[in-house]
Symmetry: C2
Subunit: 368 residues, 2 copies
Amino acid sequence: MNPSHSGDDSDDSDDRTAQVDRTRTARRPESRYGNRPTMKDVAARAGVGLKTVSRVVNAEPGVTPETERRVREAIAALGFRRNDSARVLRKGRTASIGLVLEDLADPFYGPLSRAVEEVAREHGALLINGSSAEDPDREQELALALCARRVDGLVIIPAGDDHRYLEPEMAAGVATVFVDRPAGRIDADAVLSDSFGGARDGVAHLVAGGHRRIGFIGDRPRIHTAAERLRGYRAAMEDAGIPVDERWVSLGVTDPGRVRRAAEEMLSGPDPVTAVFTGNNRVTVTVLRVLAELDRPVALVGFDDIELGDLLRPGVTVVAQDAALLGRTAAERLFRQLDGAAAAPERIVLPTRLIERGSGELSPAPAR
Amino acid sequence: MNPSHSGDDSDDSDDRTAQVDRTRTARRPESRYGNRPTMKDVAARAGVGLKTVSRVVNAEPGVTPETERRVREAIAALGFRRNDSARVLRKGRTASIGLVLEDLADPFYGPLSRAVEEVAREHGALLINGSSAEDPDREQELALALCARRVDGLVIIPAGDDHRYLEPEMAAGVATVFVDRPAGRIDADAVLSDSFGGARDGVAHLVAGGHRRIGFIGDRPRIHTAAERLRGYRAAMEDAGIPVDERWVSLGVTDPGRVRRAAEEMLSGPDPVTAVFTGNNRVTVTVLRVLAELDRPVALVGFDDIELGDLLRPGVTVVAQDAALLGRTAAERLFRQLDGAAAAPERIVLPTRLIERGSGELSPAPAR
DNA sequence: TAGGGCCTGGACAACGTTGTCAGCCCCGGG
DNA sequence: CCCGGGGCTGACAACGTTGTCCAGGCCCTA
């Protein structure tokens, strides 16, 4: 009667195991799931076989309405809920995918994660999320932990540049798609934004506005997107026939304090830059703060859109990438892999969009 | 030799199971995990017992260095990775917690989720994330799916107001903490921001600035925080002896279009409001856009901080809540429950902070 | 040299579910 | 009356791991 039988289950209706010496058997480790009822319990209570309960729970055909009613009644009375851990073990698919990203708190990754989740949901899967904090070791630790959980697939925004550690996993059938940055030293699907083209367009836009001394502040070039954006900057400058003064270029700074110093540096001195191209949303925000304190207008184009960018005066001109589309594309590709439609690894590049709002259209200060 | 043996495992070194008639046995469902090696495979290859492999993998004592070396070698050669699904089934703890929130793409929830993840990580747990999209059914579906996965605990930002569906789960030992909004119709831990006090302070701030006609735009009062903030608004008005004209109050609008219309409405007519209090970050952003198009200054205080709020002119005065602290507090409470230090359900209320940046300090337009 | 303890390793039974297969019952047809 | 067949059911063996317990082998002491 008592749903939460605590000690030995020397209950009735258990005549099969009665002959087994239960005292020698393994004791329950700690408290388990608080002794949740199992299908066996439900079966006993409903007076049916274990498998019949399974059939009801999984809506398999071949159960009399009357039997089904009894089973459902027992399920409700006991508060039974199927243990998906056991189900997973038996079936081999976990119906969950992992997402390793850099920092969920970054406004760029929120929408991306949400998009991945939405696609997962469409496929009946749950999403396990982990932040690498831009630390390659942590990325690996996370990704492998997810593999140990036997997620069906992984969406990874890489922090490191060597992903050979994933080779055994991928060979074993873990679908894998990289987003935002490509995989390092392995061949894998990747969904990227056109960092190079976007940055080139953004810088070209500044050039077209009459600027020649243009600064670039970006992340460590070890990060693929950062390197590509830098390359785009250089390409645009070269296209315009402007030799780059290396004092205009600041790389690898990422925390607000150092970005601020870098910006202030290239904005002071005898020949300050008249425009700045910023390599990602965090840098853009910091530079905006620096520019706000300045008494002269300095043009700015940033990579990544930023919220409220349209409300600032001037509005912030950006090279926008669609984080949600990035996530959605990657997740869809992942599930295509899982559905067996596995083509050769591919690199999908999504276009960026230049949004003119004012800050990128400021003219350079009159010469001298 | 070949790590990925594909067909039947009629390999060598499998003399124990050789006597079993494998033809009658269940066929492998589909492809499983792409036939990953198991501890048994490792044991066979290393020439040791199954349990010895387990001991090595779990760093249990009682294995000779030499034996351990052989086992590790076999693990590396086979590309073995422990199947945590099976482990979970056996051990009863999944070392994962679930987080049900409204929308990961909302800048308020990103940091919250990250904070929860960080605490989970400190406790060696992974985080499974789900967005309810503010739909009670979806919240329930998600929460129960997580329970079926046997997450050790749940952090829930409720969308619905009846959580009795969780009672069996909680009784069965699923640790549960509600965040941002309290649970409905059950007794459970909750970590909240002081919505009432924050809103009252914010509105009082406007009153102190000389405003009397103050608008309030908030979410559906069915949502606890929205109701509390409305209550704070009314309390502040009453404290100031200002009777509230119901045309100043707009509830339940949440999409930008309708917020815009509501704002425009209370800002037009013969006796427009001179100040607006907005009930959450999304409303604030929309109202900011409306105010930007206006030719006269209107004071604004918003609940929730918004990024770049300091860079707008005027800066946006807000009642800020600490999303990360909210998440961290909730997660810590969750793990305290899991550690058995389960006190009676408690409601923890975190203070809010009024940040003056200009928009809330604008004077009302000179009368008439 | 015998006895007792420690160390190492392995057999075995769980954990809770699902796939397979073999019964049982009942019906209809020969 | 018997047999075949079709619904329903339930027994049973996996899935891959860990807890328990026992069997040796070794070393140390008496």
